[in-house]
């Protein structure tokens, strides 16, 4: 039982420390104390994150079952709050200013929706021990939960934060697949989502269209939208096998690479530690995610299992999309790399999620 706790804790700590090293390397040459202190802030977030991790690993996750409507409601409330009070940064209204830090409600919304969906699909009838979800028709199985997901998703996409919004949808589809909902319904949902895409094209913001076009060919706009991808690929590629060494990456330390401490931190890392370091990092992510799936698979409680699956899926998708976007294999969407990217909300949510995972594994043995 202690096994998964330590495995996850140690892996998460290593990754987060590498993240702080990379944040330091990409910002230490920038002028001004706010830049130079940024790695200290991340260290603080890491400590708070660890505290959350320890707390959540002790906090019985079953209590989340009871609180799920409340959690969902709070997430929705914060998302609405962002609209009126949000801080505008980088052209998007994604942050709430609370005391001395900026808080990104979309990160919490992801976790809230996973909790909500896990409960929704693991309900049982009063007189039966089998799950209700096996008997769900199309309305209860697909349409109703879709509305619950679509509401926050719509708010997030409007911020605009297409990446996090799509992330919610992907997690939703993934969870559907892992419940007893019939495959036919899932395919119907997918068809309903994909077919009107050409129509939705007109509703996308110009920058979002641009990003998709640039993803197909970054060289159409090397100084604008394609710049980041080109610079990121140069950063990763120039690392070679062993990398250029810590603090010796010219791409990230000379700021050719934008967002080198947030969304593109993997490129910063890869430039300095090379192919070898990157492979080890990816391996560590894989091990953490694998732990999540193993926990899910050995959990008898269906709520716990779906929750663990949801959290693991969220991590997997975030890591995959972020890394693919760093390598130019996916369009640039504003998604942080969990545990590594600078950002308090992301660090906190990830550690809370990992804490829940550990708690699920711990509680399993108690039953």
């Amino acid at each position: 039982m202690r096994n998964s706790f330590f495995k996850i804790l140690i892996l998460a700590l290593i990754i987060a420390s590498l993240g702080i090293l990379s944040i330091y390397s990409s910002t230490y040459q920038k002028e001004g104390t706010p830049w130079q202190d940024i790695y200290k802030r991340q260290m603080l977030w890491l400590i708070i994150g660890l505290a959350c991790f320890f707390f959540m690993s002790r906090f019985n996750y079953r209590k989340l079952w009871d609180a799920n409507y409340f959690i969902y409601g709070v997430a929705l409330f914060f998302l609405l709050l962002v609209f009126s009070l949000g801080v505008i940064r980088l052209g998007a209204q994604r942050w709430l200013r609370i005391a001395w830090f900026n808080f990104q409600p979309a990160e919490f919304a992801k976790l809230a929706i996973i909790i909500f969906l896990a409960r929704y699909f693991s309900r049982k009838a009063i007189d039966d021990t089998s799950l209700l979800s096996g008997k769900f028709g199309i309305f209860q199985g697909i349409i109703l939960p879709f509305i619950f997901v679509a509401l926050p998703m719509f708010l997030i996409i409007q911020q605009p934060d297409l990446g996090s919004g799509l992330m919610l949808m992907l997690v939703f589809v993934g969870l559907l697949y892992l419940t007893n909902v019939r495959l036919k319904y899932i395919f119907m949902l997918l068809a309903a989502l994909i077919l009107p895409l050409p129509f939705f094209w007109h509703f996308l913001h110009d920058y979002q269209k641009q990003r998709l076009l640039v993803f197909l060919n970054p060289n159409i706009d090397p100084l604008g939208a394609g710049y980041t991808v080109i610079q990121s690929r140069i950063a990763i590629g120039s690392g070679g096998f062993f990398g250029r060494g810590w603090l010796h990456g010219s791409q990230s330390q000379l700021y050719f690479l934008p967002e080198s401490h947030t969304d593109f931190i993997f490129a910063t890392f890869s430039e300095q530690w090379g192919f070898l370091g990157s492979i080890l990092l990816i391996l560590m992510y894989y091990l953490i995610i694998r732990q999540g799936f193993i926990i899910a698979q050995r959990t008898a409680d269906s709520f716990g299992r779906l929750l663990a699956y949801g959290i693991s899926l969220l991590l997997t998708l975030q890591v995959f999309i972020n890394l693919a976007m760093n390598m130019g294999l996916a369009p640039v969407v504003g998604l942080p790399l969990p545990l590594m990217s600078y950002g308090g909300s992301s660090v906190l949510v990830t550690f809370i999620a990992l804490g829940i995972l550990v708690n699920i594994d711990r509680t399993r043995n108690v039953f």
Binding site: L178, G237, S238, G240, I282, L329
Partner: protein, 571 residues
């Protein structure tokens, strides 16, 4: 298969894709991206030295560099563009709008200074420099430009500078020449370009994404080009050019003991400054001018030597004992060679060699030539340095031509007749020489027996080359031959009837020979070649006037030059 196993497979597949992507970027394309990364962040900022000066034999500057000032703005240090441009416009007295458009047009990146005004006055440069503290973005950059204090003086000797052309670039690329390099064209500028040219230095710096300099990686100081010291004497050169101005032709003064060229002028000439100022219209005019001002007439074109050639006949005759000092021929104004009548320019009566040289009697030399035969004349002309390159340093030398029966047979399938020999005897016909060859030939009589290699560069970068350049080759004539011819040449001036008698009024005794070349159309070419002072010759002078009339005209110019030199105490 269970749904969760499929999900596991999907996840493994996703991570596999990431690793393949990483392999592709980091390992397979790593070298390419490393190169891109370096080119992203390393910039070179060049600093240029100045081209070497060209000096006269006494170290006086003939060509140097003037400092021209450019005003530049470094965008990365810029606070308020309007304020800076207003300041510059107030000092330079130009419109702000002009400066603004210049700034916009020339802007490259924030780390590269933008030139907004060029060639500003020194006074304004200093004024702007004083504002450096309050406006750190203003840079007043000195830029050395070729400067010609004497304008067109010795222009063909010096040559000009211009941007390198494609032909030169392909040949010189291996020696570190680059496109847009300023290189010498013609004359000393071209021949000694490798020494004159400055070595570009500069900084290699690392810049960030905004082009702001982060740190200096390396510095190579720029190096100035080496100075080239010529054998020319600026004072003599000036006198010579003053006297040649307005006429077509060439004048050479040479030291008969070493072969140093003391003055070399060719007219029409050109002002090399037009290439520096890029006055396109004037440059085009230079290349299209029918009088070809870019050609150095002293070495680049050849003419019939006419009577000047008679010293070849005289020395051949004396050496081969066909004539001696007591030989005399009667000139009746003409002579029949075969069926053709060859006339003299006057009726001279009984003439010996001294008189024949002094009066330039054609009949005497027809007869001498016929006694010698064409082949001997040809051989002696070559012994005296005609018909082949003198090996002068500057490019564009032609070798001239001395015909011979054998050449005629081989190349023209024609026989050589006595009439041709008679024609050759007075330096007409196919015979062609350059003024420098003639100068060199007369130096043999001035120094009594040494053929020289004329040269014009005395020292490069302070290293004296005259020891290496001075090459004498003995002309194995009898001493008496030189004496007789020298006496004859002295008589040209001193004899009352001598063709160069006009020079006899000079306080210095001059020996020489006039010449009047017949040309197919236009006025005759005028020659005067001689040396002075007679008893201890220190100068050989050659005045050649293209279509300048009779030899007398050249003698008059020579007289004026020698007079001026004497007046300035140069002799």
């Amino acid at each position: 298969m269970e749904r969760k196993s499929i999900l596991n497979l999907i996840i493994i597949f996703m991570f596999g894709a990431l690793i393949i992507g990483l392999l592709d970027l980091g390992l397979f394309q790593g070298a390419k991206f490393r190169r891109l990364s370096d080119s992203n962040c390393i910039r070179l900022i060049s600093q240029s030295g100045s081209r070497g000066n060209i000096l006269d034999r006494n170290g006086e500057i003939i060509v140097d560099n003037k400092i021209s000032y450019d005003v530049m703005i470094l965008p990365q240090d810029l606070n308020d563009i309007d304020q800076v441009l207003t300041l510059i416009s107030r000092i330079l007295n130009v419109e702000v709008k002009e400066l603004k458009t210049a700034f916009k047009q020339n802007f490259i990146s924030s780390s590269v200074p933008v030139t907004v005004a060029t060639n500003i006055e020194r006074k304004n440069a200093i004024l702007l420099g004083e504002h450096k503290i309050e406006q750190p973005s203003i840079i007043v950059a000195p830029k050395p430009l070729r400067h010609y204090p004497y304008g067109a003086l010795a222009s063909q000797v010096i040559g000009y500078v211009n941007e390198i052309d494609r032909w030169r670039l392909t040949k010189l690329e291996d020696y570190g020449y680059k496109t847009k390099d300023i290189v010498g064209f013609g004359g000393v500028e071209e021949k000694y370009d490798y020494y004159l040219r400055q070595e570009e230095g500069g900084l290699s710096v690392e810049v960030n994404h905004r082009g702001k300099v982060m740190r200096v990686l390396g510095f190579a100081p720029p190096r100035n080009g080496k100075d080239v010291m010529l054998t020319l004497d600026l004072k003599i050169q000036k006198i010579v050019e003053e006297n040649l101005t307005g006429r077509k032709g060439s004048i050479i003064l040479m030291d008969p003991s070493s072969g140093e060229i003391l003055a070399l002028a060719s007219y029409p000439n050109f002002n090399p400054a037009v290439f520096v100022d890029k006055r396109t219209k004037l440059i085009g005019g230079l290349f299209n001018d029918p009088d070809s001002p870019l050609i150095n007439r002293a070495i680049g074109s050849s003419y019939p030597p006419a009577s000047v050639f008679k010293v070849v006949l005289a020395s051949a005759g004396l050496e081969l004992k066909k004539i001696n000092t007591s030989t005399s021929f009667v000139c009746q104004g003409s002579i029949m060679v075969g069926a053709r009548k060859f006339s003299c320019w006057d009726v001279h009566g009984q003439e010996n060699i001294f008189q024949a040289l002094a009066h330039s009697c054609d009949v005497f030399f027809y007869k001498t030539g016929l006694l010698l035969g064409a082949q001997n004349i040809h051989d002696y002309a070559l012994k005296l340095g005609l018909g082949r390159n003198v090996g002068f340093e500057l490019a564009g030398e032609t070798s001239g031509f001395i015909p011979s029966p054998l050449w005629r047979k081989i190349n023209k399938f024609q026989n050589w007749f006595d009439g041709d020999t008679a024609n050759l005897s007075i330096g007409q016909g196919e015979c062609l020489v350059t003024p420098l060859q003639v100068t060199n030939m007369f130096a043999v009589f001035a120094n009594r027996g040494y053929l020289l290699s004329p040269y014009i560069v005395k020292a490069v970068g302070g290293l004296d080359l005259s020891g290496k350049k001075k090459r004498l080759s003995a002309v194995c004539f009898k001493k008496s031959t030189f004496e007789v011819i020298a006496q004859g040449l002295a008589k040209v001036v001193s004899d009352a009837q001598g063709t160069g008698n006009v020079l006899s009024t000079l306080p210095i005794k001059v020996a020489g020979k006039t010449g009047t070349s017949q040309v197919s159309h236009g006025a005759t070419h005028a020659w005067f070649v001689g040396f002075f002072p007679l008893d201890k010759p220190r100068y050989v002078i050659c005045v050649f006037l293209e279509n300048g009339g009779p030899g007398h005209a050249a003698s008059v110019i020579a007289k004026q030059i020698i007079e001026a030199m004497h007046n300035q105490g140069l002799i």
